[in-house]
């Protein structure tokens, strides 16, 4: 029996040692060998699920193995720093998230879009201003009017100070000349729970995150912060339609490689990712999960990153949250 327990443990050690051999993919050559997708968030979240399913679809398309590695922590900074410092051979690809454009300005970590070469963006979920169904306002106009009469009275739940949904609420306040009490929670989920319990009056999280309650008639979404309407909520107007110049405020996800990666390699990766992202299968997956499908190629993604960096820089300066590094 002693033998069996020892065997059991050695097997176990063997298994666990198999999982981390990606760091030094040999050589700087893109051809051959598996790819690694770094996810800067914990396993099981939206970013993880999107990356994993895109990865498994790309495996078939590229006919090579793709491993997903979660490196969460530090407001998503740790995984994104690790990804930017990987060998620039195209074999380590990082799924970057909106925080990439903010972390440096917030003074939290030395990482910015300049450390990456964008390959393709696959997802954008804009902020949606959502209130309980029985709230005394039915449109954005009425909501803003109420807020003007009652400054600081409306409590807006967000996913943490300095998080994208907090910025969204502040951006709305500064664009519409209104002020709110912003209540930070540990993520969008808890903020939505607080809205369901009537502890806050509104949330500014993504449409996808409130969709179940909007569909069941508990919540109503007044407007979304994007250039076009959200597919899942075709009746909800954008801020722009309502006469406010807010642009796109939301969370987004896209694949990037270290900035020194050869152009040729980026092109090859871009082609494979776009081919998969454009497929019917991926579209279905995104719709089922409630994720906004927004595909941008390398060039468009770069332009979008510049635009976002500028926007956050402006917003954080205005909010007095910008830290000089």
């Amino acid at each position: 029996m002693k033998g069996i327990s020892l065997l059991f443990f050695s097997l176990l050690l063997l298994l666990s040692s198999c999982s981390n051999q990606n760091a030094d993919s040999s050589g700087s050559d893109f051809s051959g060998g598996p790819l690694t997708f770094i996810v800067p968030t914990a396993a099981g979240g939206g970013t993880d699920i999107v990356t994993r399913s895109l990865g498994s679809m790309m495996e078939e398309e590229m006919d090579r193995g793709i491993g997903v590695e979660n490196i969460p922590g530090g407001s998503n900074a740790i995984g994104m720093i690790e990804g930017a410092n990987a060998d620039p051979n195209g074999k380590t690809v990082t799924m970057v998230v909106a925080e990439l454009a903010m972390l440096n300005d917030l003074g939290l970590a030395d990482i910015s879009p300049d450390d990456y070469k964008p390959v393709a963006m696959v997802n954008l979920d804009p902020a949606a201003i959502t209130v309980p169904a029985d709230a005394p306002y039915d449109t954005l106009e009425e909501f803003i009017a109420y807020a003007k009469e009652h400054p600081d009275e409306i409590k807006i739940g967000n996913s943490g100070t300095g998080s994208i949904w907090h910025i969204a609420s502040e951006a709305m306040g500064s664009e519409t000349n209104t002020s709110y009490t912003n209540v930070p929670y540990e993520g969008a989920g808890p903020a939505v729970t607080a809205l369901a319990g009537g502890h806050v009056d509104a949330v500014t999280v993504s449409a996808a995150e409130v969709l179940p309650q909007v569909e069941s008639g508990e919540f109503k979404t007044l407007a979304v912060m994007s250039e076009e309407r959200v597919e899942a909520m075709p009746d909800v107007p954008t801020f722009e339609e309502e006469g406010y110049d807010l642009g796109t405020v939301g969370t987004w996800r896209g694949l990037c490689v270290p900035v020194d990666t050869p152009e040729q390699t980026v092109d090859k990766l871009e082609k494979s990712i776009l081919e998969t992202a454009d497929s019917k299968e991926f579209e279905e997956f995104m719709n089922d999960g409630g994720y906004g499908l927004e595909i941008k190629d390398s060039e468009e993604f770069q332009a979008f990153l510049n635009e976002q960096s500028e926007f956050f820089d402006e917003m954080l300066t205005e909010l007095d949250m910008k830290q000089e590094q």
């Binding site: 327990s5 939206g46 498994s56 969460p72 930070p184 997956f285």
Partner: protein, 493 residues
């Protein structure tokens, strides 16, 4: 009938059992938590039939919570935070040579806890969900404080040392990004510390690594610590004696499970505390009490049923595991929430039956496996020690694929070794580390919500009751000490 044919299919049952076994394995490894287990299995379920996929994940979830207790009891190493409280009396029983009986109690309590949780879920889910939603920041703050007050019963002899250990945990918990204003605290510019000190890495160090160090010391001093296993089985009369504790703790677990933000770690500590409060023989707690083991074991599985309440009825996940399950349901095209019972009613009831079956299988797997599990105690210390060390390193690294957590683990291991050496209990430190962020963020969130009005803590009935319980628990040991007129006490109060 449609429901029954849904569940009782060869493939479905097989996947459920497979899930349980995978979960058992993941749970037993320190560092691999329930959330990670469920998340890792998630992509595999995408192509399956909805009920098969969901039950596979449920199996992993339930199995991992049970598996975490096995190592907690046998080698003083909780596999998941849910089992941290089971160490206290579980490992004491093992040291007395009663590992066999301890595993029996753990298995029975886990199974009953799970069944009670599911039954409560079936019977009163909608009403419970309404109640759970009334928990806002002040209530959660009061619950966290109540959980923290449990420290006063984990003192292992010295009230002062227990409090110091708990406060140390609270202080370490302040490292990282401040949860409300997003300011960095005590990170010294290190990005790795932005998210704070990982409490799972710290837990592995404090319990497992320090235990390995102790084994080295025993080896050097030649005090052989290899355990004896008496095959003493649980007697019917003993089971009857702990039965009420199991039922009560299952209820506590279910209740805490449905509250958003509160997890199995709090549930098991609170259940331990309540079991001790209502016990006539308080002294046996911490020295191998069957009640002290049954309570956290029933609570951490009772929790699983509770955690499903807000998920299924409102579409709101109460903790990290149910957040992953929410993802699994939506990818399958199911929208949790009030309509789920109408649109996919038979699937929901199939899920309930599957959950009941999962608990039955835990009973069967547990009882047929005890003989095998206890074999680990026959492994001599000089084999076990390096295995525990390697598992600690692998577990800490696997948390976030990050070497920094390994450093945290070793630091906690060295700290834990000296704490044990000088009779400081380590459980309060873990409790402080887990509850610190919950306590702080909800205190400050309450004040924001009330716009500075502190009376918010006195005007809400649930808050007041929980705060009163917390103060009572915190101070009752002092009262007992005072009654005995110990001369050294006055200085402490």
């Amino acid at each position: 009938m449609e429901t029954l044919t849904y569940v009782f299919q060869f493939e479905t049952i097989l996947l459920l059992i497979l899930g349980l076994l995978i979960g058992l394995f993941i749970g037993a490894l320190p560092g691999l938590s329930s959330v990670m287990g469920v998340a890792l299995m998630l992509p595999i379920t995408f192509g399956m039939e909805p009920i098969n996929g969901i039950l596979l994940l449920i199996g992993v979830y339930f199995g991992s919570i049970y598996g975490g207790s096995l190592t907690a009891i046998l080698i003083n190493t909780p596999g998941t935070p849910a089992s941290a409280a089971s160490v206290i009396d579980g490992y004491s029983l093992t040291k007395k040579g009663l590992a066999y009986k301890a595993l029996q109690v753990s298995t029975v309590s886990s199974a009953i806890g799970g069944v009670v949780g599911v039954i409560l879920l079936i019977l009163v889910a909608p009403q419970l969900a309404e109640f759970a939603l009334r928990f806002s920041a002040p209530e959660t703050f009061a619950l966290a404080l109540f959980g923290l007050s449990v420290i006063s019963t984990l003192t292992a002899g010295s009230y002062a040392k227990g409090m110091m250990s708990g406060l140390a945990g609270l202080i370490i918990a302040t490292v990282g990004l401040d949860p409300i204003s997003g300011v960095t605290r005590f990170t010294f510019g290190n990005v790795q510390l932005l998210g704070g000190v990982s409490f799972i890495a710290a837990m592995i160090g404090l319990f497992a690594t320090s235990e390995a160090f102790r084994m080295v010391e025993d080896k050097i001093r030649n005090t052989d610590s290899s355990q004896t296993i008496n095959k003493v089985k649980l007697k019917w009369s003993e089971f009857r004696a702990v039965f009420l504790t199991i039922l009560g703790s299952s209820g506590i677990g279910t209740f805490i499970g449905m509250i958003p933000g509160a997890g199995a770690d709090i549930a098991s500590f609170v259940a331990y505390n309540e079991a001790k409060r209502f016990s006539k023989n308080k002294k046996e707690f911490g020295n191998g009490s069957l009640r002290g083991l049954a309570a956290p074991e029933a609570a951490n599985t009772g929790l699983t049923g509770g955690a499903m309440v807000p998920l299924l009825t409102l579409g709101i996940p109460g903790d990290a595991v149910t957040a992953v399950l929410l993802g699994a349901l939506t990818v399958q095209g199911l929208q949790p929430g009030p309509q789920l019972f109408v649109s996919d009613g038979s699937l929901v009831y199939a899920l309930f039956i599957g959950m009941l079956l999962a608990n039955l299988f835990i009973l069967i797997i547990g009882f047929s496996g005890i003989r095998f599990f206890t074999k680990i105690l026959k492994v001599p210390g000089h084999f076990l020690m390096p295995v525990i060390l390697v598992l600690s390193v692998v577990g800490a690294y696997a948390l976030n694929n990050n070497y920094f957590d390994v450093i945290v683990m070793f630091a906690a291991g060295i700290g834990g070794y000296f704490m044990k050496k000088f009779n400081f209990p380590v459980a309060p430190l873990i409790l402080g580390l887990i509850l610190g962020p919950l306590l702080e963020s909800n205190l400050r969130r309450s004040i924001i919500l009330a716009q500075g009005d502190m009376t918010i803590f006195l005007t809400r009935p649930i808050t007041v009751v929980l705060l009163a319980l917390a103060v009572l628990t915190l101070l009752s040991p002092l009262w007992n000490i005072r009654k005995k007129w110990k001369p050294d006490v006055k200085g402490e109060i």
